[in-house]
């Protein structure tokens, strides 16, 4: 379990990092927290010619509020965001991060690294999708901003070009009347989810204005659906969660698209998705009406 030989560079500026990456002509890989990349190297499942370590680039680890968004830089650790008071503006981040691996992994692993890795079972891509986050990508030809809906293109596949670096993600902060939900079920705490859901509901005077759900661990990427009509159709019910179940069961057939494995068949993942979707849509709606997000 030792990596194949590779070249290692640790540039000090973003421009140099982009230059180094471009110089590898597609044979380079960006190293940030390394929590997914290093095991891949050790097991020789991947063998990039050059690792471009961006941890020496100053200013990439920032977490800052910029008006309506929370901007998280490429080397900001998951644990830093989890502990940052600024994260309170994006409640879903606080709900999801405790489920990302274990604390030790989050101390090293980065938010942007998880997004760039795009594991179909990972939490953060689903959060980004549900919130409509914007991903900032830089390469030799400049900077472009990719909406989450276009960023995730399949299992471990994103819109990042071979000569580009994901430099930041911008999560929209919670607005008035917004409520959120997050839940996942895994074989053990810290495992990739068998099924997980992220929900966002906006309501005004009890009326559902918008409802969005993203499922993860259920397909080749986070799957996002507008469920405004579904939630509206039952929003007044006392037994909201139960009332949502027929709808979320139907939704599960649409959203859950995986061959399954020994931990969870497609059928079991559908069951879990339907349960969690109803629970977290109901919860998000309740919080949206209570002004608690």
């Amino acid at each position: 379990m030792k990596p194949a030989p590779f070249a290692y560079v640790r540039p000090a500026t973003l421009a140099d990092a982009i230059g180094e990456l471009a110089a590898t002509a597609g044979d380079g890989k960006v190293l940030a927290g390394g929590q997914s990349l290093v095991p891949v190297l050790a097991m020789r499942l991947g063998r990039p010619g050059t690792l471009v370590d961006i941890n020496g680039v100053a200013g990439l680890d920032t977490i800052e509020r910029r008006g309506p968004v929370l901007r998280v830089g490429a080397t900001a650790r998951q644990r830093s965001l989890e502990r940052s008071p600024k994260a309170a503006a994006v409640p879903l981040v606080g709900r999801a991060l405790p489920f990302v691996g274990h604390r030790e992994l989050r101390s090293r692993g980065t938010v942007c690294g998880s997004l760039a890795h795009a594991d179909p079972g990972a939490e953060l891509p689903a959060v980004a999708s549900c919130l409509g986050a914007a991903l900032e990508v830089r390469g030799p030809s400049g900077t472009r901003t990719v909406p989450a809906a276009d960023f995730f293109q399949g299992a471990m596949t994103t819109a990042i070009g071979p000569d580009e670096i994901l430099t930041a993600v911008e999560f929209p902060v919670a607005g008035p009347g917004e409520g959120f939900g997050f839940a996942e079920l895994a074989r053990r705490h810290g495992d990739f989810a068998l099924a997980g859901v992220v929900t966002r509901v906006r309501s005004a005077d009890g009326a559902v204005a918008e409802a969005v759900i993203s499922g993860f661990g259920v397909s080749d990427r986070a799957v996002t659906r507008d469920v405004t009509d579904l939630l509206r159709s039952v929003a007044g019910r006392d037994d909201l969660e139960a009332a949502l179940r027929p709808g979320t069961e139907e939704l599960a057939h649409d959203v859950v698209n995986t061959s399954g494995d020994q931990h969870g068949s497609q059928g079991y993942r559908r069951r879990l998705f339907a349960v969690l979707a109803a629970r977290e849509l109901a919860g998000a709606y309740r919080r949206s009406t209570e002004g608690r997000s």
Partner: protein
């Protein structure tokens, strides 16, 4: 924008709390008659400060090179050719060996039974499981070795693999070992008592088929070996370091494969081993392989197994397919038992297999007085990782069948699961109780243990919870398991795999000897030297505690040293840390060694006090006159007399404060009528488990566990508790999380810790009440029995019984493990709950 207060409720789960498991902390209540004096472990300070010396920390021979192993990517293939030339030319490579070098230098390992299934440390003619070694590359470091390993070219002719037991037994199954003509490696049938008659006369005949899965102990430290091949005028010799913990029967096995005398194999075991749970007994083929690599590299070679290698190619418990059948009379009393056991030992019959079949031979009737038994014991080979020792060895497999059967009998007879068991328990006045298979249960009070477990569980309250849950349409179940916990293996059981007529006269095997050395230095400090090769159990702590108590010294005056070097440490074939041998055997040898030291100290004390040594006792750091304790001398002064002034000792007293002592129980080899007392001591475990199943997600939550143990005299409550918690957690893994799974094509699908799921603290935090009854063994000086394995045998089936009870409204049963949400979904999907 929300203000701070509106988002304060996120995150929704507390830091690191299990989102799904019960977060209640474990409760512990000790037994009323269990001693609560609990010294801390002497092992802990070095371990928690990083001063442990594990094999990878050691560099005993300068110039040692590093090996990487080339392994088969295929489950079943013929090796057409192996090209090592490119790897040999790679810069930094000292040697590369493959099947040709193995065949030229090694003999097949001697097997426990005579089968035509030759076993070498690499594949030679064929490869038979994914991960089987094919070649070894020795280089300057592991990186270079792995680079060169990629240059080894093997041409394979692929064959259909055999994965499961049922496939292996099929008429037209592909053969792993053509010379054997069958995938069945051993097949024996034993009958005791009037089995057929009992079945003919039975009121009920109840049978069931049960499958036990394959899982590991997943030690934190993987295998590690340093081997050095040398030649002198007496011929070849090897010196090796390995985190091997026995049984030391494997030392002559290694020597035989190398074709050298056992005395030319010098094996060192580091004092610190990072866990094993039996798994590291499977390291010995690598010692031989690395010795051969050292011969070709002309220098010492080290190899440290990585986790990827460990999870596909080290060792695991055997999976078992079994059928149990009971003849039951009108009162619910079992009059006869038939069992048909088929173990999957993996690709080879690697010794000590097929011992999984026989380790529990003497206690195959469990805690019950069943007078007649028939056993069919088979082992098959499949294209999977070879199996071997694991905590509970053979017990979890046996009791999964026997204790599931008990619940099936209960369902048939309408008797409550506890009542049915109580009707069949070996009664308190029957000890020592001889089982039909030759086991002799040394002591026990099974009824008392069951009563205590039921009481601690508050079974009546659990039944109330269950009734309420069921009324709400929820799934709630209660399971019980009662198991006899054998310790101190009599290796003679291995003989049963060979028919009596084929066993050679004068070649019987029996017994279970353990050695220790005890010495006293000039300052009166006592050293207890153990060759017991622990892997974290705390042997030094217990040995020190026992020696201090026996010699009347404060513990500070005793040190325990762990050292195994086969050239200098006393050992025999049964030496090792397995089958919970330490408490019954090693401690008994410590007592014997201390008693000999005490005789010499009393003789010296007699000189100092002018008293008859027989009138003296050792207490409070002194040797003193029993009838007048004021007449005393310090222990260290008495020791000083032996060292400095031996001439003053009474005639006939040897000036000897260095004793080697052994404890050998009165064990016997298997008899011609196939009976054997397969262990020295037999303890008991009773477990009650309550589970709650989420009706939506089908996740299984453990609501309460009551676990009662009888390990004889409790030597150290803290360490015993640790063994109970550890065994429960390991069993939880096998019951609900861990399994070595394979595709139908023979590829392992639990090859990393992403898929091989060991329970963590988040999963193991269930409400637990432990307790003890104490039935001292009459066979050991301290009355102690082994206790390292008990719950690993009982807890898997207790969980299966609880989940089966929970599913009883659906009429569904859990006859295989592991069980978890996905399994329940597949069982329940589309099944309607009967009205």
């Amino acid at each position: 924008m929300p203000d701070q207060s509106t988002v304060a409720d996120a995150p929704v789960v507390p830091e690191e709390a299990a989102p799904t498991a019960a977060a209640t902390p474990s409760e512990h209540t000790g037994g009323t008659d269990a001693p609560r004096w609990t010294p801390s472990r002497v092992e802990d300070a070095p371990l928690v400060t990083g001063e442990g010396r594990f094999l990878d920390d050691m560099d005993p021979l300068p110039g040692t090179l590093t090996a990487a192993i080339v392994r088969s990517p295929h489950p079943h293939a013929r090796i057409r050719s192996v090209d090592l030339s490119r790897a040999r030319r790679h810069p930094g490579v000292a040697a590369v060996i493959g099947p040709e070098e193995v065949l030229a230098a090694l003999r097949p390992f001697p097997l426990s039974v005579s089968t035509q299934m030759p076993y070498f440390p690499t594949g030679t003619d064929k490869v038979r499981y994914v991960g089987e070694p094919v070649a070894v590359v020795v280089a300057t470091d592991r990186y270079v070795a792995e680079d060169a390993a990629e240059l080894v070219a093997v041409d394979y002719e692929l064959f259909d693999p055999v994965v499961g037991i049922r496939t292996a037994l099929a008429e037209d199954a592909p053969l792993l070992h053509e010379g054997q003509g069958s995938n069945v490696a051993t097949d024996r049938t034993f009958t005791f008592g009037e089995v057929d008659q009992a079945f003919a006369e039975a009121t009920h005949v109840v049978s069931g088929e049960y499958d036990f899965p394959r899982y590991s102990g997943a030690p934190m430290e993987c295998y590690s070996v340093i081997a050095n091949w040398t030649e002198d005028s007496a011929g070849p010799a090897i010196e090796a370091w390995a985190n091997f913990h026995g049984p030391f029967t494997m030392v002559p096995v290694m020597a035989s494969a190398l074709g050298i005398p056992t005395s030319r194999v010098r094996l060192h075991v580091p004092a610190d081993i990072g866990g094993s749970f039996g798994i590291k007994a499977g390291i010995y083929p690598y010692v031989v392989l690395l010795a051969l690599a050292s011969k070709h590299a002309r220098t010492a070679v080290r190899w440290s197994e990585d986790r990827a290698e460990h999870l596909v190619a080290s060792s695991s418990g055997a999976d078992r397919m079994m059928r149990f059948e009971a003849a039951v009379d009108a009162d619910g009393v079992i009059t006869a038992l038939r069992t048909d056991l088929v173990d999957n030992v993996g690709a080879y019959m690697r010794p000590p297999e097929p011992s999984t079949l026989y380790r529990c031979y003497g206690n195959i009737t469990g805690a019950y007085r069943i007078p007649a038994v028939q056993i069919r014991a088979r082992a098959v080979v499949t294209n999977t990782m070879p199996t071997g020792l694991i905590r509970g060895f053979g017990g979890q497999q046996l009791y999964f069948g026997l204790e599931r059967l008990m619940d099936d009998i209960s369902a048939r007879t309408g008797l409550d699961v506890v009542d049915l068991r109580c009707r069949n328990l070996v009664p308190p006045d029957a000890f020592p109780y001889e089982t039909p298979t030759g086991g002799v249960y040394d002591s026990g009070n099974y009824e008392k243990a069951v009563r205590l477990a039921v009481e601690n569980a508050d079974l009546a309250e659990l039944r109330q919870r269950q009734a309420e849950a069921r009324a709400r349409g929820e799934l709630y179940g209660i399971g019980i398991a009662v198991v006899v916990d054998p310790s101190g293996t009599n290796i003679g059981y291995v003989g049963l795999a060979t028919p009596p007529e084929a066993r050679k006269a004068g070649r019987d095997k029996s017994g279970s000897t353990e050695h220790v050395r005890v010495s006293v230095d000039v300052q009166g400090v006592v050293t207890v030297m153990l060759g017991s090769v622990p892997q974290g159990q705390g042997h030094a702590t217990i040995a020190r505690q026992i020696a201090a108590a026996r010699l009347g010294l404060p513990e500070e005056s005793v040190r325990a040293v762990i050292d195994m070097d086969t050239a200098t440490t006393p050992w025999t074939v049964t030496t090792g840390s397995y089958s919970s041998r330490f408490a019954p055997l090693v401690t008994s040898a410590v007592i014997e060694g201390c008693d000999r030291i005490a005789r010499t100290i009393r003789a010296a004390g007699g000189v100092l006090l002018g008293a008859d040594p027989d009138e003296l006792e050792l207490a409070e750091g002194r040797v003193r006159v029993k009838s007048d304790p004021s007449r005393s001398a310090e222990f260290r002064h008495a020791a000083g007399v032996v060292h400095w002034d031996p001439g003053s000792l009474p005639e006939g007293t040897s000036a000897r404060l260095y004793e080697e002592a052994a404890f050998t129980p009165a064990a016997r080899a298997a008899t011609r009528d196939e009976r054997i007392n397969s262990s020295l001591c037999y303890g008991l475990v009773v477990e009650l488990v309550a589970v709650r199943i989420d009706p939506d997600t089908l996740e299984i939550g453990i609501d309460r566990v009551s676990s009662v143990h009888d390990a004889g005299t409790v030597l150290n409550q803290t360490l015993l508790d640790g063994q109970v918690y550890g065994a429960l957690t390991q069993a939880l893994g096998g019951a609900m999380y861990e399994e070595f799974t394979y595709t139908e094509g023979g590829q392992p699908t639990a090859a990393t810790f992403l898929d091989y799921l060991c329970p963590t603290t988040a999963e193991a935090g269930f409400p637990l009440i432990t307790d003890h009854v104490v039935s001292p063994s009459p066979l050991t000086p301290l009355g102690a029995k082994g206790s390292g394995e008990g719950s690993s045998m009982s807890f898997p089936v207790a969980i299966a019984n609880a989940v089966t009870d929970a599913l009883s409204p659906y009429g569904l049963k859990i006859d295989k493990l592991p069980v978890h949400g996905n399994v329940l979904h597949e069982l329940l999907d589309g099944v309607r709950r009967p009205a």
